[in-house]
């Protein structure tokens, strides 16, 4: 029995478009904040992971590439990658790097240093990204774009690597947003059931 297609089954197109747009104008990176806010709102207000379950464009994209284009080896993920230690450790690391990026944005905002037009991949490799015109906005707005797009591109690349090595949606196992929203839901459920 084939399941009925919904509008949200095509959100992978939005994710792919988002990644492509960043190559033309880095300011589009701001749209990616929705991928942070929406799942947290679902978890906080609804106490569910509907975003991961239905609306995550990245998960769908990885599924399309892994199954549709057969780019996945479909092997089982190693147990250490799905362990709580790794999942929560990666969440802490990811959030630390996120706040570090926010601090860099603040430094540009307060004129401590100027705009750095680079994308940092895997929090290490600096890629010059000077071809996008950011003169129409304040430098801190552009700086946030570079930082946020670095996070989004790095996490997408990690997702692609684990998709190729293991099952298509292996990224979902250690996705920081997925881990965070699952914890919110579990805590929410615990507090409501103990009342």
């Amino acid at each position: 029995m084939k399941q009925k297609k919904h509008w949200y089954d095509y959100l992978w197109i939005v994710t792919a478009t988002y990644l492509i747009l960043g190559f033309f104008n880095i300011l589009f990176a701001w749209i990616g904040i929705l991928c942070f806010i929406i799942p947290i709102l679902f978890a906080l207000i609804g106490g569910n992971k509907h975003y991961c379950n239905h609306y995550c464009g990245r998960g769908q994209l990885l599924e399309r590439l892994g199954n549709g284009l057969r780019l996945s080896s479909h092997r089982s993920i190693p147990s250490w990658l799905r362990s709580k230690w790794f999942r929560y450790g990666f969440l802490v690391f990811f959030m630390t790097m996120f706040f570090n990026m926010l601090f860099s944005t603040y430094l540009v905002f307060s004129n401590v240093h100027g705009l750095r037009e680079i994308i940092t991949l895997f929090w290490t490799f600096k890629v010059p990204w000077e071809w996008t015109n950011t003169s129409m906005v304040s430098p801190w707005i552009a700086q946030f774009s570079f930082g946020f797009y670095s996070l989004m591109l790095t996490s997408t690349l990690l997702g692609l690597i684990t998709m190729a090595l293991y099952k298509p949606r292996s990224w979902c196992v250690y996705c920081p947003m997925g881990t965070m929203t699952q914890s919110i839901c579990q805590l929410r459920h615990k507090t409501t059931s103990s009342r």
């Binding site: 029995m1 084939k2 399941q3 679902f42 978890a43 106490g47 569910n48 992971k49 991961c52 379950n53 239905h54 998960g59 599924e63 479909h74 089982s76 993920i77 799905r82 999942r87 293991y166 099952k167 298509p168 949606r169 292996s170 990224w171 979902c172 196992v173 996705c175 997925g178 881990t179 929203t181 699952q182 919110i184 839901c185 579990q186 929410r188 459920h189």
Partner: protein, 65 residues
């Protein structure tokens, strides 16, 4: 009655990959915490097991009650 059934371990990350894979809509996500199987619908076909990125689903023999 189907002789097999899917079982989901506590390590489930509630990503929802299995929801779409299940041809009988026998799986749901319990309060954003983990996936649960409706034993009355599951036939143990193993489609959920194949897509589960965390490899937390096993197909076992159904215990006769």
């Amino acid at each position: 009655m189907a002789k097999k059934i899917a079982l989901i371990s506590e390590e489930c990350v509630a990503c929802g990959s299995c929801l779409k894979a299940c041809p009988l809509q026998a799986i749901s996500i319990f309060k954003g915490s983990h996936a649960i199987i409706d034993a009355t619908k599951c036939v143990g076909c193993g489609k959920c097991q194949r897509v589960c990125p965390a490899s937390v689903i096993t197909i076992t023999e159904r215990k006769e009650s």
